[in-house]
């Protein structure tokens, strides 16, 4: 399988471990991740907050380059990149006006742009191969956390069940793991408040981790560098807020699969986590009780 690969900016930065594990797993599965030549910014965050047209034209440019390079499918591991690329494609295909605007900016016709996949979608296509290549069962109980951008909005992503997604759970099960049926699979992690207002990330991340621990998960599995950094890098803020210590690790889905395929932890970037990857985690008893009380509704 050869697929157009769009690593985006975070996979060499905060999501370096995601990139490393992505490469290692793809190699082990025989997937050729061919980087799109001269790829540019996907238009997320600062892009789409500044100008709507920029947020369509930038990803359209990426898809155009992929198309020229002969790809009919593009995979973006970062959920924000994935969402931007998929949204641009959707808007160009459904709005003649947007299409005309984007074509004017890019000085070319935009027809039959490549299909955009997220990492879970791509791995789900080869889940039989993954299951067959397992050398070391991933014998842990985890909470799969999808966040907001992987599955929503449903009409754009057309992927999994919007409110109660299960595709990542299926992958974990395929490599021998157990997943918990928990409540916060698609709650907000705080997203880019990670940089601008960490208290928000602390509040939201605390709820997610608390719920995962309450459901007896030994780790959280994600498919988005933003989710990862908010739950991993900002753990100090979270634990400070909770006045407790939650120390369950946060793994990328590629790391989970990599471990099961017998790839050494170093190649999967496991050493780059802020919360050490250890199983089973020793969650403190206090962390399992909820601190948020009922708010009185007037």
């Amino acid at each position: 399988m050869r697929i157009g690969y769009y690593p985006g900016c975070s996979l060499s930065g905060t999501g370096r471990d995601f990139g490393e594990s992505m490469d290692a797993v793809a190699k082990a599965l025989g997937i050729e991740l061919a980087e799109i030549p001269e790829w540019t910014c996907c238009g997320s965050s600062s892009g789409h907050m500044t100008d709507r047209l920029v947020s369509v034209a930038l990803p359209a440019n990426v898809l155009l380059k992929a198309q020229k390079a002969g790809f009919d499918q593009v995979m973006a591991p970062c959920a924000a990149c994935y969402n931007r690329l998929a949204t641009a494609k959707h808007e160009i295909e459904t709005s003649a006006q947007t299409k005309a605007q984007a074509e004017k900016i890019l000085q070319t016709k935009l027809e039959k742009l490549p299909r955009v996949l997220n990492v879970v979608e791509m791995l789900a296509q080869v889940s039989d191969t993954i299951a067959a290549k397992v050398t070391k069962k991933f014998d842990e109980t985890v909470a799969c956390y999808y966040g907001c951008l992987l599955v929503r909005p449903a009409k754009i992503t057309g992927f999994d069940r919007t409110e109660d997604p299960v595709e990542m759970d299926k992958l974990v099960t395929a490599v021998g793991g157990k997943t918990v049926d928990w409540s916060f699979k698609t709650e907000c992690c705080g997203a880019s408040f990670s940089l601008s207002k960490t208290s928000v990330v602390g509040r939201l991340g605390a709820k997610i981790l608390q719920n995962a621990v309450a459901h007896k998960a030994d780790a959280v599995v994600v498919a988005c560098p933003m989710c990862h950094s908010n739950l991993d890098l900002r753990r100090g803020e979270i634990n400070q807020r909770l006045a407790a210590k939650i120390d369950i690790p946060v793994l990328y889905i590629t790391q989970v699969i990599g471990l099961a395929l017998g790839i050494p932890g170093k190649k999967l970037g496991l050493g780059r986590h802020f919360v050490p990857v250890k199983f089973p985690a020793t969650a403190t008893a206090t962390a399992t009780t909820t601190t948020t009380g009922p708010q009185v509704v007037q």
């Binding site: 009409k155 409110e163 109660d164 709650e187 509704v297």
Partner: protein, 663 residues
């Protein structure tokens, strides 16, 4: 040579303000065949009509063109006037100078020129009109009512009370429908069963009503006044005539653990059962799928213990065909399954229930005797959250329309809860409160002001469980968009009202049109709300759109009046604008070659096959024939016919071509 009269109406300023009516009259006089042309301020007024009648007599007119408003408005008026003047009413045509000309154009010479053209078209047509006579069709004065909920009950009673026989067909073992499951009704809080059961008994006892419960319509053939309904009477496996409804079989049935549909699965029932104590008829039915005898060939406990020996294990479904003249569709609704809402965790959380379950919990005849006890552990919930618009007005995941009844029943539920659980808290999340109806808004205000129900304007994004406690996470948009979290003991979803699962199939069986959400479509959204586009089939209740009880009853009575109106005529009179297939002298007999493309094209199943035979009875050829009772005059067959053997009376090819050639 024709003698056509043209009558041009000013319609006050409506036409004369834009069109030069005098010029139109002058131009009309030059048209071949026109012997008389006048203009007048209001042709539809009494003097205007008299002018028309007199002109027909004095000028010996054989055709009339009234150039005025839309024929939808006044064609019947002027046709009647023409008839009074002494000519066939179908020799009168209308040129629409108002909607098609003066209202849509500026005052200009071109506008007047268009008006002249419109008149010329009709003059050319009327010269070729043939006198037509209304079609008379016999009527079977018996109505079929499908569905035994409150809509069907009301329609059946009204039709029967007017002296007409009614066949009421209900698919479940008892009539009563959803209304029999309700606890109290808004806005008066009177007990639903108390007001419904007398009506149910009246249906059973009415000499003009034949009640078929546990029965379904298989097929409907024929046309208005002359339908043939094929009905499947499903085998109850008991002899209804012998059974006295003593209930011993229910007590003795060893199978006890089947979820009771009437109680929405909140309690269990045996395999032989009467849906509820007040059921009509109060005769049990054997649930073949769960009966031990039907599963294993052993048991027969009910048969052994039945004091009247009424059990019939070998009873089979019966098919009956009935002649009926009209059909009332009153098949009701369902609510959106709560499994559609993963964000509210249904299926996982036993205490997230829908409105109908709450009705059963609050009902005195329900599984808890009217005490509010939550399904998971039977405890009395101290805080109940009601979520309105679960699926309604939700383009992304639900249905875009408003389900109409939820605002009211949610207010009722919250109110009933406050009455039954003193010190409890009821919170309602809503988008808007839509309480348009007599005493409706007052009812909602009463819930808020007297019973202390807390209304929070905002949506709920998630219901989750935290250490066994339900947490409702939403937003309060009136508190500046603040996020709200409520720890609740039970959550009630006001799920969207939807068409029945088999609605589409039924509509196709009956050739009734339906909307994108499978609700049956009325013939006109405002002016013909209880009729369908198939003549003789009428609508009542929530099978057409979400409705509450008062509206359903009103609409059912409306449908009943339509049926009675139909039955009050000795024969049925219909406009003769129908298709006719060519017939001519031997040896050709007809231009029709018998390809029957028309048959597949006809949306009303009006094309029949006719065998033309010689004196010995041998078939010479098979040709198409139009059933005048079914044909709606749409003309689809005319355009489909390869040999031009079909023509539409009143709108023949010759007439239409003459119109086109005149401009």
């Amino acid at each position: 040579m024709s003698r056509v009269g043209v009558f041009i109406c000013h319609c006050g300023e409506n036409i004369a303000g834009t069109v030069d009516v005098a010029a139109v009259a002058k131009a009309a006089l030059d048209m071949p065949g026109v012997v008389h042309a006048v203009e007048y301020k209001y042709m539809c007024s009494d003097p205007g009509q008299t002018m028309l009648k007199d002109a027909i007599k004095e000028k010996k007119l054989d055709g009339v063109v009234v150039a005025a408003c839309s024929p939808r408005m006044h064609e019947p008026t002027f046709r009647r006037t023409a008839e009074e003047g002494g000519i066939n009413p179908f020799q009168c045509e209308m040129a629409n100078l108002r909607e098609h000309c003066s209202w849509v154009h500026e005052k200009a010479p071109a506008t007047t020129a268009k008006a002249v053209d419109l008149v010329r078209l009709q003059v050319e047509k009327v010269k070729r009109n043939l006198p037509l006579n209304p079609i008379r069709v016999p009527i079977t004065k018996k109505a079929l009512v499908l569905g035994g909920g409150i809509a069907g009950i009301q329609a059946a009673l009204d039709i029967a009370n007017a002296g007409n026989p009614v066949l009421l067909v209900e698919q479940s073992p008892s009539i009563g429908g959803h209304m029999s499951q309700l606890s109290e009704t808004f806005p008066t809080l009177d007990c639903s069963q108390c007001i419904l059961t007398p009506r149910m008994v009246e249906v059973a006892r009415h000499p003009n009503i034949t009640l078929y419960t546990y029965s379904e319509l298989e097929k409907l053939e024929g046309f208005i006044g002359n339908f043939k309904a094929t009905i499947r009477r499903k085998a109850r496996k008991i002899d209804e005539k012998i059974c006295n409804g003593c209930g011993v079989c229910q007590q003795k049935c060893p199978v006890k653990k089947i979820p009771d549909q009437f109680n929405e699965g909140l309690s269990n029932r045996p395999a032989i059962f009467v849906p509820f104590p007040q059921a009509v008829p109060n005769k049990p039915v054997i649930d073949v799928e769960n009966c031990t005898y039907f599963k294993t060939g052993k048991c027969k406990a009910c048969e052994k213990l039945c004091p009247t020996k009424a059990i019939r294990f070998d009873q089979e479904d019966q098919i009956e065909v009935h002649d009926v003249g009209a059909v009332v569709l009153a098949t009701g609704y369902k609510t959106m399954p709560v499994s559609n809402f993963p964000e509210y965790g249904y299926g996982k959380f036993k205490d997230v229930i829908d409105g109908m379950k709450f009705e059963r919990l609050a009902s005195a005849s329900g599984p808890t005797g009217g005490a509010i006890k939550r399904p998971s552990d039977g405890k009395e919930p101290q805080h109940v959250v009601f979520i309105a618009c679960a699926g309604s007005r939700d383009r992304a995941k639900g249905v875009p329309y408003c389900s109409k009844i939820c605002c009211m029943y949610t207010a009722k539920h919250a109110m009933l809860y406050q009455h039954k659980v003193h010190g409890g808290t009821a919170t309602v999340f809503y988008m808007d409160v839509r309480a348009a109806g007599k005493n409706y808004d007052e009812f909602v205000r009463r819930a808020v002001e007297e019973d202390g129900v807390k209304y929070v304007r905002g949506r709920v994004s998630r219901v989750y469980e935290d250490n066994g406690q339900l947490v409702v996470k939403g937003v309060d948009t009136l508190l500046g968009g603040e996020q709200v979290e409520i720890r609740a003991d039970m959550v009630v979803l006001a799920t969207a009202v939807q068409a029945q699962d088999n609605a589409e199939e039924l509509a196709q069986t009956l050739h009734v049109s339906y909307d994108p959400y499978k609700f049956f479509a009325e013939a006109h959204p405002k002016l013909r709300p209880v009729e369908t586009n198939t003549a003789g089939i009428f609508l009542a209740g929530a099978c057409q759109a979400p409705r509450d009880i008062p509206e359903t009853v009103a609409q059912a009575s409306g449908a009943a009046v339509k049926v009675c109106g139909l039955f009050s005529q000795p024969t049925l009179t219909r406009e003769p604008i129908i298709a006719v297939v060519d017939r001519q002298a031997p040896p050709v007999f007809s231009n029709c070659v018998g390809c029957f493309l028309c048959k597949s094209a006809c949306p009303y199943q009006a094309i029949e096959e006719e065998a033309i035979k010689n004196r010995n009875g041998d078939v010479i050829k098979t040709v198409a024939k139009v059933n005048p009772g079914l044909c709606q005059g749409c003309g689809t067959c005319v355009s489909t016919c390869r040999t031009k053997a079909i023509d539409l009376q009143g709108y023949s090819n010759e007439q239409i071509f003459a119109e086109l050639m005149s401009i």
